[in-house]
Amino acid sequence: MIEISKFIVGYLVLQGAILSLIAAIGVIRLPDVYTRNHAASKSATLGVISILLGLFLHYLLIDHIANSRVLLGIIFVFITAPVAGHLISRAAYNTGVPLWNKSVQDDLAKVRSKQKSR
């Protein structure tokens, strides 16, 4: 039982670390603010959540302590990360950071130019 739970904990922590690493690679490789935000707000969220879940299970299964603060941390990260991603990209758009030059479509720009001309 202890061996199986150690295996699960190890898997979760490793998965979280790898996802965070890939998010970091994505932030370097992707071309503009918005696509970088995709990588940062998604992969980093699941990465942090799986590391915290591994920590929680480690304490629960091996030391038999249920640490509810870790669970609260998971919930807070889960709720706030997408909002943070949304706010950063919205602020970037409103201050006029350009899209990548290979971007295909921009419906918001039409609306914005209409609002200015009015």
Partner: protein, 158 residues
């Protein structure tokens, strides 16, 4: 829905007073019997039986988790593919949802969906502007959002 839950807790307290047993077990028993009573009297309430709303909330949570995992896999594919050729773009999406909290949950869900990120909500709460990683899948993404997410959120607020 909140009224029915409050009524159920109230019935559980009445059960505790009736049986003169102030333990959590007595509370659970009373809650269970109150649950049955509210189910039997469900046609006298304005809203539907509250257990259905709770099931809908749990389903919405499940959708959240599944979408988070799927979106991570799709971001992984884009980042780790040797030729970096996403076709990003911004598209508009009309939504039927009206209340503020519904739109907040919808935009959180969209942000956690594979390849989409909410940029802006229009001032009349009718249109969401969404940045997509790959504009080719937009029609599919629109259908997904319409059929699964909006329906699930409506199911909660009904």
């Amino acid at each position: 829905m909140a009224f029915q839950i409050l009524l159920n807790v109230f019935l559980a307290f009445i059960w505790m007073f009736l049986s003169n047993d102030y333990s959590s077990l007595a509370f659970c028993k009373g809650y269970f019997f109150g649950f049955i009573i509210i189910f039997a009297l469900r046609r006298f309430f304005d809203h539907r039986f509250y257990f259905l709303n709770i099931v809908a909330i749990i389903r919405l949570l499940g959708i959240f988790l599944i979408e988070l995992i799927k979106s991570n896999i799709s971001v992984l594919k884009v980042i780790l593919s040797p030729k970096l050729e996403p076709r990003p773009g911004i598209f508009a999406l009309e939504t039927d949802l009206e209340k503020d909290w519904e739109i907040t949950i919808l935009s959180n869900l969209i942000t956690l969906t594979p390849g989409t990120l909410v940029l802006e909500v229009s001032e009349d709460n009718k249109t969401l502007y969404i940045h997509a990683m790959d504009i080719d899948d937009v029609e599919q993404a629109k259908l997904d959002i319409k059929n699964t997410f909006e329906e699930a959120i409506k199911e909660v607020s009904r």
